[in-house]
Symmetry: C2
């Protein structure tokens, strides 16, 4: 270990200890105090627009100098309305109910003990993200509202912007009398800091949430020694059953693929029951193509729709995040379920059918975080689920699955109320 | 990697693949089919008593030859009544409700989407245990009932016994038409197999549950690359508040420490409010000593009760699992909470008081899996909680916390019921 690495390790270790200490205070902070911190942070953000824009201009200038893509620079660039949206996001989190202290279940035992399971914060949450400066506020605020301390590590490309926004969060915490260490930002762009976070800072990080592309998420999933809430990709499937309604099939398929092609809930593979290939499949493929979608299909798809390109084996496991869809004919819901079990990333899949039994089978047997019937996969979103803001979507089966909102950022404990009971 | 290691790795990898495949079948198996497998397994166990005793005799003979302790040999040795208890344990799991398919929550969205959160199995559970052959049946059956495949790795000292019991589970699965791979036992005593399980068998183990002493649990926690449900130790605290009832304090303290000293819910440290040192603390210490407990105390404890030995720093973080308790005077509930935050293993702590506000503060601020008021810490047990059988007790904050019963061996997914909705 060279001196530089040792310095980063020491600094991160100290950051972890301070986060754990702040988490203990936060765990017992009343909702009103946490909400005050968020409201004050929003006010400070609105009052700091010039300073945030100035910091952001430095990041953007550096990005241009480094020849970053237009899409990248667009994600990075802030303006007054985007900063207002960040502040409004904090206000929205204030309106969400505080999950901490909720009694999830309660029951009495024959010996008179009363047992309750009650929500508690998780502890310390590490958030590792890329060049979207708004994540600093969104993620920090969600962690805080659920009583957790946050350690934020934003992309080095948005470092100045993230620090300027973080300063507003700190001001909010201080105005509310909460420890500033409740939301810390890693003060270095040294990548060794990420490695330290992934190793858990000596037991002082309880979970890591990566926010970004497949490269970042893959590295986090591979290297983390603490639990991770994440999805590597969203290879979402639509299955058009033989009992599908033709008009719904066209509407939902075009929406699921084309509404926004770059989000994880966008459909990537279309499975069509062979029995309705001509009657429903063909108009659906035509509608997709008319909407500007490239179709990559098996031989029978290309017979049906000659403009389709040839699908290769890797197409079934590719998340295009683009106006491209892979398509295949299947022999009924069973083969659709088998295809999904083989190729899905366990994110979101939808069946289109008017046959209740086929829908029931699909919803039961497909093992993905979200399974849908007659609805667009683009609804895979915490906001659309009515859960308020989300910190991400998880495809693991441990603790959090699907949209990760406030409730998923909590743990629980048991409270046992006795009157002097001893165990016989 | 030498040939031997490579062989074990290949074998374990194949075991993992078969478990995953079985898990997919189990996830959709009806309760009646899983229950039939358990009932048939219990019947087979009862019919196989001579074969199980014969296998067990081999393990016991080896244990004696190896000079194992009396306690060890006692845990290892089976007789007819212990085998009957194993079969009865399976029957008891049959009577528990199947958690899979439970609708945990459901709500409607303004656009007409109906969203449900429904319980699903976790997937594949690895259980690593020591010389108690009954764990083979208990753990395998709990995993199965919750729709999970199990990979069992028992101690090499109980290998013959575990295999004989496992053969009965396999017979039960086959009689019920379920895949025999649903409950597999690692067929080698090579310790490399444990390392493979801890690395997760290429994504085919979702969680590991260690059952055994601190050595085993520590190794699993240290090396596992998949989530672990476990507690390393139970350093449980009793706090006698100044508003405690003297008679309850004597009864609960003696029970919490002395009912069974070798279990994780046994109290290891006694904190006494200085204000009631003479009036309550002294009679409690006398009662403990009269019950055969060694007391290790601070100077003020020794002034109060001269027979006490001196407590050293390491006593506050020692799980004695024996008739020994460490004791200390504190200035009120705040200092008790601080002591617990510093030394507790986050398992179970109890406050003895008639002051509702002090109890409320303790129950809120102590961050342990189980917090109690006027009750013995020895109630820290899934059966005592009314959860039926447990596979263990977890002190982590992720997914499962406290007793790990059937519900904790499940995950969930979202089912979204639409009528053709597309996202605007």
């Amino acid at each position: 270990m060279n001196d530089m690495t040792s310095t980063v390790a020491d600094m991160m270790s100290e950051l972890g200890r301070r986060a754990r200490s702040a988490a203990r205070t936060l765990a017992n902070a009343p909702s009103a105090q946490k909400d005050k911190a968020l409201t004050e942070a929003a006010t400070t953000i609105r009052a700091s627009i010039p300073a945030i824009l100035e910091a952001n201009a430095k990041d953007v200038a550096k990005g241009e100098e480094d020849g970053m893509t237009k899409a990248f620079l667009d994600r990075l660039t802030l303006d007054e309305s985007r900063i207002e949206a960040i502040a409004a996001g904090l206000d929205a989190i204030v309106t969400l109910p505080d999950p901490v202290g909720d009694i999830m279940a309660g029951w009495d035992r024959p010996n008179g003990l009363k047992i309750e399971r009650v929500r508690t914060p998780l502890g310390v949450i590490g958030v590792i993200y890329e060049s979207r400066p708004n994540v600093t506020a969104d993620a920090g605020a969600l962690c805080l509202k659920a009583g957790n301390a946050a350690i934020l590590r934003g992309g080095s490309d948005s470092h100045h912007s993230s620090r300027a926004i973080h300063a507003c969060l700190t001001a909010g915490l201080e105005a509310a009398g909460l420890p500033a260490d409740a939301i810390q930002i890693v003060p270095t762009t040294d990548r060794a800091a990420v490695g330290e976070m992934l190793r858990g800072l000596g037991g002082n990080v309880d979970v890591i949430v990566p926010r970004g592309g497949k490269g970042l998420v893959g590295r986090v999933q591979e290297e983390a020694r603490v639990p991770v809430f994440s999805h590597l990709e969203g290879i979402c499937h639509l299955y058009i059953d033989k009992a599908a309604d033709a008009a719904k099939a066209v509407d939902i398929t075009v929406n699921a693929k084309m509404r926004r092609t770059g989000i994880c809930g966008s459909a990537e593979t279309l499975l069509i029951d062979r029995d309705v290939a001509e009657t429903i499949g063909k108009p659906v493929l035509e509608a997709l193509a008319a909407a500007g979608c490239e179709i990559r299909g098996t031989a029978d798809i290309r017979a049906l729709f000659p403009a389709a390109k040839e699908a290769r084996e890797e197409d079934w496991s590719t998340e295009y995040l683009d106006a491209i869809i892979s398509a295949k004919l299947v022999d009924g819901v069973g083969e659709a379920i088998d295809h999904i079990a083989t190729y899905s990333s366990s994110h979101t899949e939808s069946i289109l059918t008017e046959d209740a039994a086929a829908a029931e089978r699909f919803l039961n047997e497909v093992d993905s975080a979200i399974v849908m019937h007659n609805a667009s996969t683009q609804f895979a979103d915490g906001g659309e689920f009515g859960m308020g803001a989300e910190i991400g979507i998880a495809t693991g089966r441990m603790h959090a699955r699907g949209p990760v909102g406030l409730e998923q950022l909590t743990s629980f404990k048991y409270r046992v109320h006795g009157t002097g009971q001893t165990r016989p």
